[in-house]
């Protein structure tokens, strides 16, 4: 390169001198112009040839360098030289770009003392979702089909189909999310579509990752099992060594406590903050505070009035839910494969203000004010006493609080016309034992003493399996 470069530069320099000097002598002369063009062409072609030669030389040098490096490596250790080249890159295949596909198979054998079709959480407005304990006897649970992949350098997409055992297919989740920064630097992340809200602790996790076969009573009563709205979410992670995250969500209120209002704008939204860190190598924790606001109109549910006639009651107004959550995990030296303990609890408090109407013939269809303040909590501990085996205990309590029904106060109807809202504080105690022969398999035995329904204490036994096929995505904390 050193012997070549000065010569090339000199040639180029000479050519440019001619090119530069020519316009000064006689501009406009056609012969001279032709000459100039010719020189310009020469210059271009020289440049091209120099570039080509330079790149060829660089290549040759790199190859020589590699050979040198290889020789040096070979000298390092005789044994090492015997090893051969580093791993070859993965072969490119036609299906290399296929998304990650996985399927969760779940099923259970349920032994229920009470009729599951009559299940209710007395004292709390029924949610629109399916919150009962399932079917008696053998039953297939919801199978989940997940397809996810990076879409392009900025976005990742995930679709999760919930295949109901009776044949229905529900789009449980379908969302896109940003990969790193949304172009606004570090910290923010964006999600849009249908997704499980970031409120609370358990809400964002899929049912197969729960530590019990069913959701806590508070989730059933206040969120209809799990909140998964259509909308968008913006999260921001603070630039601190301690985990501090803020999130805001806007949605249409597709699910409880919303009621699909057929309205433009935002009908349901949430704010949340999470704080978390480690204590030593063996402990880690996360605390959260969330606020969910919704303005359902005509959120209706069915009840039976005092004349034993089926009625339809509907609520319109504002619903505010506060959730405080905490989780603490312990495992000696951080090695959760051997033994671990997880303590988790959440507190819910809901205030609803608005109007409640009833189409009961006893008042000929009537509407009046409605206000309620209700709360609930659960606390659970799961202990892995040896690899693959865990035991867990959970306590659920709901507080009926105050429910102020204008139609009852005015005398238009009586409390007996709203049996589902009768004063009752549901409680439940659950114990479970599970065994996971591999990461992809879990068998669980669960027993619950459930006092959700007034005067209908239930003893429930679940024997459950959860199998995970295919690509197995990482789980959240």
């Amino acid at each position: 390169m050193k012997s070549f470069r000065p010569h090339a530069v000199a040639t180029l320099f000479g050519a440019s001198l001619i090119a530069l000097s020519s316009p000064a002598s006689a501009a406009g002369d056609p012969d001279l112009k032709a000459l100039r063009d010719e020189i310009a062409q020469m210059k271009q072609s020289y440049e091209k040839r120099i570039n080509a030669l330079e790149s060829r030389l660089a290549q040759a040098e790199a190859t020589a360098g590699d050979a040198q490096a290889t020789a040096a490596t070979a000298q390092q250790s005789l044994a090492q030289a015997a090893q051969g080249p580093a791993s070859a890159p993965a072969p490119a295949q036609g299906n290399s770009f296929n998304p990650e596909v996985s399927m969760i198979l779940q099923g259970s054998y349920n032994n229920l003392k009470q009729d599951p079709n009559a299940y209710q959480i007395t004292g709390f407005v029924p949610t629109l979702g399916e919150v009962g304990p399932g079917t008696r006897g053998f039953s297939l649970g919801e199978s989940e089909l997940t397809v996810s992949a990076n879409i392009d350098p900025d976005w990742r997409g995930t679709g999760i189909l919930a295949l109901a055992p009776d044949g229905g297919v529900e789009m449980e989740n379908a969302y896109f999310q940003s990969i790193g920064g949304v172009g606004w630097g570090n910290g923010p992340s964006f999600k849009g579509g249908r997704f499980f809200s970031g409120i609370g602790y358990l809400n964002e996790q899929h049912a197969h990752a729960w530590d019990f076969a069913d959701a806590p009573l508070a989730y059933k009563a206040f969120l209809g099992n799990q909140l998964g709205d259509d909308g968008m979410q913006l999260k921001w992670l603070a630039p601190t060594d301690m985990f501090l995250e803020f999130g805001v969500e806007a949605g249409r209120g597709r699910t409880f406590p919303g009621a699909d209002n057929n309205k433009n704008g935002v009908s349901q939204g949430a704010l949340f903050a999470h704080l978390g860190d480690d204590v030593g190598v063996s402990n880690s924790w996360r605390l959260g505070l969330s606020l969910l606001g919704s303005s359902p109109s005509n959120r209706s549910y069915e009840d039976v009035d005092s004349s034993a006639a089926a009625v339809n009651n509907s609520f319109s107004g504002r619903s505010r839910l506060l959730v405080a959550d905490g989780v603490w995990k312990w495992s000696p030296n951080g090695n959760s494969t051997a033994t671990s303990f997880k303590l988790q609890g959440e507190y819910f408090r809901r205030r609803e203000n608005g109007t409640l109407s009833s189409d009961s013939l006893l008042c000929g269809g009537c509407t009046d004010s409605y206000a309620s303040t209700q709360s609930g909590w659960y606390l659970q501990g799961v202990y892995q006493f040896m690899p693959r085996w865990r035991v867990g205990l959970r306590r659920d309590e709901l507080d009926h609080g105050s429910v102020d029904i204008g139609l009852v106060n005015s005398g238009a109807l009586t409390a007996a016309d709203f049996p589902l809202l009768a004063a009752h504080d549901p409680t439940r105690t659950t114990a479970m034992l599970d065994y996971s022969p591999s990461e992809f398999t879990r068998f669980r035995l669960q027993w619950a003493h459930d006092n959700s329904g007034l005067g209908a204490t239930d003893n429930q036994i679940f024997l459950q399996y959860i199998f995970s096929l295919g690509a197995h995505g990482a789980h959240n904390f």
């Binding site: 490596t73 390092q76 250790s77 044994a79 090492q80 090893q83 080249p85 580093a86 791993s87 993965a90 990742r156 940003s178 990969i179 790193g180 920064g181 949304v182 172009g183 630097g185 570090n186 910290g187 923010p188 992340s189 999260k235 921001w236 992670l237 630039p239 601190t240 060594d241 301690m242 985990f243 501090l244 995250e245 999470h274 704080l275 978390g276 860190d277 480690d278 190598v281 880690s284 924790w285 996360r286 995990k329 000696p332 030296n333 951080g334 090695n335 959760s336 494969t337 051997a338 690899p387 022969p437 591999s438 990461e439 992809f440 197995h472 995505g473 990482a474 789980h475 959240n476 904390f477």
Partner: protein, 297 residues
């Protein structure tokens, strides 16, 4: 309020002038990055030496640290597949996404062993890229260190020469140690051993140790007593000298085997921090070889 603002501004300006922030997934890469980065890097190591590297949780603390990281130093070959993708995604940090210069995988510089010819979960916890426990062969630290010095220089061009010089100094000391270790381990060449989990093929490849069987019927699958008795019977003729497990493996299978096959059970540190002696990369291999020699006597 004013004080808080000043504090925040102070924090922000500090982070602007700080060294390269490194997120090492496992202790061995944390230690190697300290050797090569020297005073220019601020290393956070996500896991401890007593932790099973296959089962790590996407803890909030990891997400917080990932947010400000300039470089991830990971093993790759799917070792971190159960947690790293979530942490990287939740961190909202564009610099460390896979494929970016801020994402470094050590296994890319190493010839992988035990690359499966078929991928089936019926074979247990297999990794498509091969066995990911590459750090048990001391020789690979030269290759990985070389690639890492280049990467550090790429991210922080102003100090590229310093990284290169640090690597050269490290490589010189390391080669001297390699010669010492290889000489000390000469009596281990050709001995038969039994391993609990397939965590040491690279160590065996380096020192010429022969693995005659493993206690796990399939990688990651806990052995039953019936299976262990079968292993005892199978290897009887081969006269294994010891049964080896990593510090984070459950002790029961190898203790049971040691009792019934009348061989010593050896707990190797596996990585920096795996026992009290393994304080850095050099003492890790000093200790590993000392433990093997002691058990083989």
């Amino acid at each position: 309020m004013k004080r808080i603002i000043f504090l925040l501004l102070g924090l922000l300006s500090l982070s602007a002038h700080a060294d390269l922030k490194i997120f090492a997934t496992v202790p061995e890469w944390g230690a190697l990055t300290k050797e090569i980065g020297g005073r220019r890097v601020d290393v956070f190591t996500a896991t401890g030496g007593m932790q099973d590297p296959h089962h790590v949780e996407a803890k909030p603390s990891l997400i917080a640290r990932m947010r400000s990281a300039d470089l991830i130093v990971a093993t790759g070959a799917e070792l971190e597949v159960g947690w790293l993708p979530v942490v990287v995604r939740d961190s909202g940090n564009p610099r460390v996404q896979p494929g970016q210069p801020g994402y470094f995988e050590a296994s890319k510089s190493v010839r992988m062993l035990e690359v499966p010819t078929r991928l089936d979960r019926a074979d247990g916890d297999v990794h498509a890229g091969g066995n990911p426990h590459i750090q048990t062969d001391a020789r690979i630290f030269l290759k990985v260190g070389d690639a890492l010095a280049t990467r550090l220089g790429q991210l922080d061009a102003g100090n590229a020469a310093e990284y290169r010089a640090n690597y050269a100094a490290f490589a010189e000391r390391w080669k001297a140690s390699l010669a010492k270790w290889e000489a000390a381990a000469a009596p281990l060449r050709g001995i038969n051993v039994v391993t609990q989990h397939k965590a040491f093929p690279y160590l065996y490849d380096w020192l010429g140790i022969v693995e005659v069987d493993t206690l796990e019927p399939k990688p990651g699958v806990e052995p039953s007593v019936a299976y262990l008795s079968q292993v005892v019977a199978n290897v009887q003729a081969k006269k294994p000298r010891m049964v080896i497990r990593a510090a984070w493996n459950s002790p029961r299978p190898s203790e049971w085997f040691a009792d019934h096959a009348h061989v010593p059970a050896v707990v190797l540190p596996f990585t920096v921090g795996g026992d009290d002696q393994a304080k850095d990369l050099f003492s890790l291999f000093d200790d590993t070889i000392a433990l093997l020699l002691k058990a083989s006597r």
